[in-house]
């Protein structure tokens, strides 16, 4: 699939936004400004963006504990996200959810999820809604390699196929679940498992936005045309620890430095589009600058925002009670 210039610029901007967002959250967390558990998506940007660029307002995604990238790629407000992560009243969820529960249903973003394997069943439901109400929408479940071992996930594979749902399962395999290697924890292969359920599947290099985009394009087309579920197995890399504070003793010496140098999806994208003469380096530099300013501004807003007032503790439990 050949993307046009606007699309290429948008893709780069989104990846850059995710990267800057995560780098900045990392810094702010280290400085002590952010409470709780925070899992960063830096290094995996091409996946969220390559997939979500194929989606529109009708479509839904379910995310994971490592959800910031998915949120941004599905169009969540960056200020609202930053506010949420700081636990402030300007947060997307009014500070009640935090990093692990950012959601914006109006954008089709059905929530990060603190439960590994929580998303796939939910996304079968979103796909069922699309199918039943004939909205033409599709539904995407992002999950990690670790999540692929959860029974809830595997049940969803079978259910999506049995019900012939417009679902795309995206396994974001960054090689680790916490400190455990996916080459140990995942018996067999992702493609073999999908095949076992009769689900078409493809493996892609998560460095390569274009490969992911194309794989997603095919899967989304299949789903929209009533062809049922697909699985995309992306081999990705995470640059930070499992969560902020993880010393990463389980990683190889120099592993992360090497990845940052040789396997950076943003560098890869930049090189590809400039060498192909599709975009100018200056255009990309400009995006870099704009995005950085936006992220700066979001941090300022978050820090300046008020904490939620105590009475909010009791609201939003039920629609009516």
């Amino acid at each position: 699939m050949q993307l046009n210039r606007e699309q290429l610029l948008a893709a780069y901007r989104m990846m850059r936004t995710i990267r800057d967002f995560e780098d900045r959250v990392h810094t702010e967390f280290s400085a002590g400004g952010i409470p709780g558990f925070v899992h960063l998506y830096a290094g995996e940007e091409a996946s969220a963006v390559g997939i979500c660029m194929n989606l529109d307002e009708r479509d839904k995604i379910a995310s994971t504990h490592r959800g910031h990238g998915h949120c941004i790629a599905k169009g969540c407000d960056v200020d609202g996200m930053m506010g949420e992560i700081f636990g402030k009243s300007n947060g997307l969820c009014g500070g009640k959810g935090g990093s692990m529960h950012i959601a914006d249903l109006s954008k089709g973003m059905m929530g990060a999820n603190g439960i590994v394997g929580g998303g796939p069943p939910l996304i079968c439901g979103a796909a069922l809604t699309a199918k039943t109400l004939k909205t033409g929408g599709v539904a995407v479940a992002f999950m990690g390699d670790g999540a692929s071992n959860q029974g809830t996930t595997m049940e969803s594979f079978n259910l999506a196929k049995a019900w012939n749902l417009p679902v795309i399962f995206v396994v974001e395999d960054n090689g680790y679940a916490e400190s455990t290697g996916s080459n140990w924890s995942v018996s067999g292969t992702q493609l073999g498992r999908a095949a076992g359920f009769g689900i078409p599947a493809v493996q892609v290099d998560g460095l390569d936005f274009f490969a992911i985009y194309d794989a997603a394009h095919e899967a989304v087309e299949r789903a929209r045309n009533g062809g049922g579920p697909s699985l995309i197995h992306g081999k990705l890399n995470r640059y930070y620890g499992h969560f902020e504070g993880d010393a990463m003793t389980y990683r190889g010496e120099g592993e992360v430095e090497m990845l940052r140098r040789d396997h950076d999806p943003l560098n890869f994208f930049r090189k590809r589009v400039t060498e192909a003469g599709l975009l100018e380096a200056a255009q990309l530099d400009e995006i870099d600058a704009t995005v950085q300013a936006e992220i700066d501004a979001s941090v300022v807003k978050a820090k300046g925002a008020a904490m939620p007032v105590a009475s909010k503790l009791l609201t939003d439990v039920y629609v009516s009670y």
Binding site: G94, G118, L122, C124, G125, L128
Partner: protein
Amino acid sequence: MSKKSFRQAINEALAQEMRRDHRVIVMGEDVAGGLGTPGDQDAWGGPMGVTKGLVGEFGRERVLDTPITESGFIGAAVGAAATGLRPVADLMFVDFMGVCFDQIFNQAAKFRYMFGGKAVTPVVIRTMFGAGFRAASQHSQCLYPIFTHIPGLKVAIPSNAYEAKGLLIQAIRDDDPVIFFEHKMLYDDIDEVPDEPYTIPFGEANVTREGTDLTIVAFGRMVKFANEAADLLAKQKISVTVIDPRTTSPMDYDTILESVEETGRLVVVDEAHPRCSMATDVAAFVVQDAFKHLKAPIKMVTPPHVPVPFSPALEDEYIPNTARIMAAARSVLA
């Protein structure tokens, strides 16, 4: 108005709501039945036949059989509810909650709060509960105290056919996740049930007997036994109020407190396991909020702290019954 069984009342509520709102769908294992088989396409309607006939009227697009995959399909019901449908999912026996509870208590129950009020999750989970069927430890539990414990869930426990229809229609129209408990020993019980749709509001207890000497609060099938006990006590000139809270979340403590203010005496009858139960819940809120009106200890009539046994001889000993309620009543009146 006509005589209908508890089973028919539920079936009728489902059919009427499906007619009224095209977003209402039904899903679960064998709720239609017969998918992928040579035989009848309205084969089962669930093991008790409660959903029988629906697939004939509404088709397989709205009455969905599922594989045995409770996390998968209960989660799908939750996800569908959050995106625009109003699913009624069938968790065949509440005892099976252990393979899918996450989708209920961490997802459905918490979406609205975690997402700052932006989610609406109108899912109903119908489920069978209770002892008496000789179905042994893994098919006879009550477990509604567990669901009642969780903020974000609503819990309805109809005590007869009339209640079942009205509460189920309310559950389907309600915008919050509702766990709807059907006692398996009530399905064949018959009551006057209006033909037209009607709702019974949540959080409003039903006073089934009015009296001045003693208050009995009971849940589900136990309401029947409490009524029997009240009628027998009436013959002994003991005047008893019986309260069926109908829903345990929300819970109508006010009706109970008002009654205890008058009677000063309370017996709570709960078929669930005794610890951290609805019996303890009611007793605790009453001693907290109406202590000065209490004239006697609050007695809890529950099974012992043991799993439900299989043998009829043991199961009959396990289940709270009318005699035991009367004994508790007499002890607080002594």
